[in-house]
């Protein structure tokens, strides 16, 4: 519907203070979507790929639907969090886009703020929908389902896998890991890959590290494989001090204590150190290949995270949900469907020189990665990890995701710096999360 009246009042109060005749606060004079055949799409402009990708999708869509005018509104942001904030600012100022790109972590957020129109009825009504959803792993649909509402079809996603530097493995005479490796195998491997190359008494080459600035490529796979999660199944309660989480964090903390892992650093710092062999293994989604391959670095492969008490694949997707503000939801649904069409999905496969930075959601398309020859050798594992293995659903991503994540990271920082013990740190984390993870 229209902008809530209170918000208009706020905006007017602010603008009226502009003390000039410039501020016209009379009525909702937004005339963006006059015709029935117009769509406005908001996306996160995170780099050149985002813009060209969205342009290509929009162009292809208008080619198929020449009577529709598609407006792309790129929104800048340093990460998903600031992107959402900027979109929210746009909406607060009166814009009414039809679709916006969100990541899986944002599903609860958009749902609880009643921003999106669930697609359940389209999935039932639309004759072509079944063929599409059958080709999409169930986990990707479950991941975007909040309280029975399907938020969006996911066009692309990432799972968490272990990257390993094959040169470092060869040099150390260590066998490449197998899919059924365990935490013990993992630790033994990582130990063999850690070394003090300059003989100053401290290691300067490490077996493994994880990102300090994100939880998905950080602790989540370990928590999942210990059989735990950071929130309850309905994402209504925090479970950060459960025995499973304690086990996972203790395992990682021991890696640091034993000199097998360096003090954690942000993801971007890990990439380069992995390429030059200072770090033999790290965890991430498919995105590192977008850095590695163009740089000519190919001596790496991927493997599933090692098994703890269980194995569950940790993943996250992205999609174009239909916004409630849309004047033309049916057309928006057509667009959403179009974002998972063969034509568009192939773009996420990429080529060996210009690889995509996420995994196509459609199984049939994802399996062409190895046919096209985009490294690494184990690429089929990307889709298999969600199709053939158990997955961690739901995302531990409450509506206040960015507060949630920063709280978790803040306490982990203290634990990994040795300033508090694992149980104490997690207890403090849990205490704080209780107020953040609610329904």
């Amino acid at each position: 519907m229209n902008i809530p009246r209170r918000k208009v009042a706020l905006a007017c109060a602010t603008a009226a203070l502009a003390a000039t005749a410039l501020a016209g606060c009379g009525s909702d004079s937004e005339t963006t979507s006059t015709g029935a055949k117009a769509l406005e799409i908001v996306y996160w402009n995170y780099g050149p790929a985002a813009e060209s990708g969205n342009k290509a999708t929009a162009d292809a869509f208008t080619k198929a639907h020449p009577d529709v005018k598609v407006t792309l509104t790129p929104v800048t942001g340093e990460n998903w969090g600031t992107y959402y904030a900027n979109v929210a600012t746009l909406i607060a100022s009166g814009k009414k886009p039809d679709l916006m790109v969100i990541s899986g972590e944002g599903a609860q957020f958009v749902h609880s703020n009643k921003l999106v129109k669930p697609i359940n009825e389209y999935l039932e009504k639309d004759a072509g929908a079944k063929a599409i959803t059958d080709d999409i792993a169930q986990g990707l649909i479950d991941g975007f389902t909040v309280k029975g509402d399907v938020i969006t079809l996911s066009y692309g996603w990432n799972d968490m896998v272990v990257y390993y530097n094959t040169d470092v493995f060869k040099k150390a005479g260590v066998e490449p890991p197998k899919a059924d490796w365990t935490w013990d195998d993992f630790k033994a491997t990582a130990k063999k890959l850690s070394a003090d190359t300059n003989g100053d008494g401290t290691n300067d080459q490490y077996g493994f590290t994880w990102a300090s600035n994100e939880i998905f490529p950080g602790i989540m796979p370990w928590v999942a494989n210990a059989g735990g999660n950071l929130t309850s199944d309905d994402v209504c309660q925090a479970t950060a001090d459960s025995p499973q989480v304690n086990k996972a964090v203790t395992f990682l903390n021991d890696l640091i204590k034993e000199g097998v892992a360096p003090a954690p650093m942000p993801m971007s710092d890990v990439f380069t150190r992995f390429q030059n062999g200072q770090i033999a293994m790290f965890g991430a989604g498919r995105w590192p290949i977008a850095t590695f391959l163009p740089a000519g670095f190919k001596s790496f492969d991927i493997q599933l995270y090692p098994k703890g008490d269980t194995y569950k694949t940790v993943f996250g997707g992205a999609g174009y949900p239909i916004l409630k503000s849309s004047q033309n939801p049916d057309l928006a649904w057509e667009y959403q469907k179009f974002t998972v069409s063969d034509e568009i999905e192939k773009g996420y496969v990429g080529t060996p020189d210009k690889p995509g930075d996420s995994i196509p959601s459609r199984r049939s398309v994802a399996h062409t990665i190895s046919q096209v020859g985009v490294p690494p050798a184990n690429s089929d594992l990307y889709y298999d990890s969600i199709d053939k293995f158990e997955t961690l659903v739901p995302y531990p991503a409450p509506a206040k995701y960015s507060t949630f994540e920063s709280t978790v990271l803040r306490h982990l920082q203290q634990i990994f710096a040795g300033e508090t013990t694992v149980p104490d740190g997690l207890k403090a984390m849990q205490g704080e999360l209780t107020g953040i993870v609610t329904c």
């Binding site: 904030a85 607060a92 960015s402 203290q414």
Partner: protein
Amino acid sequence: MTTNTHPTTRPRGDGAAALAFLTPSILTFLVFVLAPTVGVLILSFFDWNLLSDGTFAGLDNFKRLFTDERLLGVYGSTTYMALVILAVNVVLGLLLAVLLETRMPRWIRAFFRLSFLFPFVVSASAVALIWRFLLNKDLGLVNYLLGLTGLDRIDWLGSSTWAPISVIMVNSWKTIGFSILVYIAGLQSIPKQLREAAIVDGAGAWTRFWRITFPLLSPTIFFLVVINTINSFQIFAEPRVLTQGGPGDSSRTIVEYLYDRAFGDFDLGYASAIGITFALVLVVLTAIQFWFSRRWTHYQ
């Protein structure tokens, strides 16, 4: 604020001229500074998350300040880092600026000035890139060099003792050139004749500094104390890119904290309330500085 005590024969009141001189500033101030500020004031009485309906919240946001367990700690780390940065910039900046006054070829002086200002001209991304490499605990250059001398690795960015020190170092590194530049402009304004006269009188460098340079530079020093206080209390980029405010809240600043409340929690009302109380703290600090300045600032 009329610190000027110089006798003058000027007739009272330049109202019309003042209005003309001030109009451009006043207009832009009203629209682009005052209006948003009043907006913040209004927001602080609302519960609003940008997306849904805002609701009037009375004083709730302000009451929350007293129950927020982290707020005091964040104020503590902000104050600690701000005061050290302030001292470094004002004192070390003055030292370097005065040393630059030494007789030397022009191009060498220009070279030094440029070097000192260099970090000021780069963006936060460059700062992050450089210093995260230098200060990384296990794979950073600084600890590597320390290791060569047999010292233990320091957890620059990860320990609650060192993280604020790293933020202080990097922020001072980035901003000291600014203070030096302002000092230079101030020093340039001191009539050379005064100092030359003092030399003729046989005053040593030390005496000349305290008797002539320092008093005449006092408006500049005062300016830098005020500005550096405000700037160093408002640090945002360095802790964010270096330490993410951690570990814990040991290197978190108020601005970072309220930014997270606004754009992480989408709690604009509370963020505004923090912003307003924070502004009041700065107003008081600055008022004290102005009050003190009457005693020691010397205007021509």
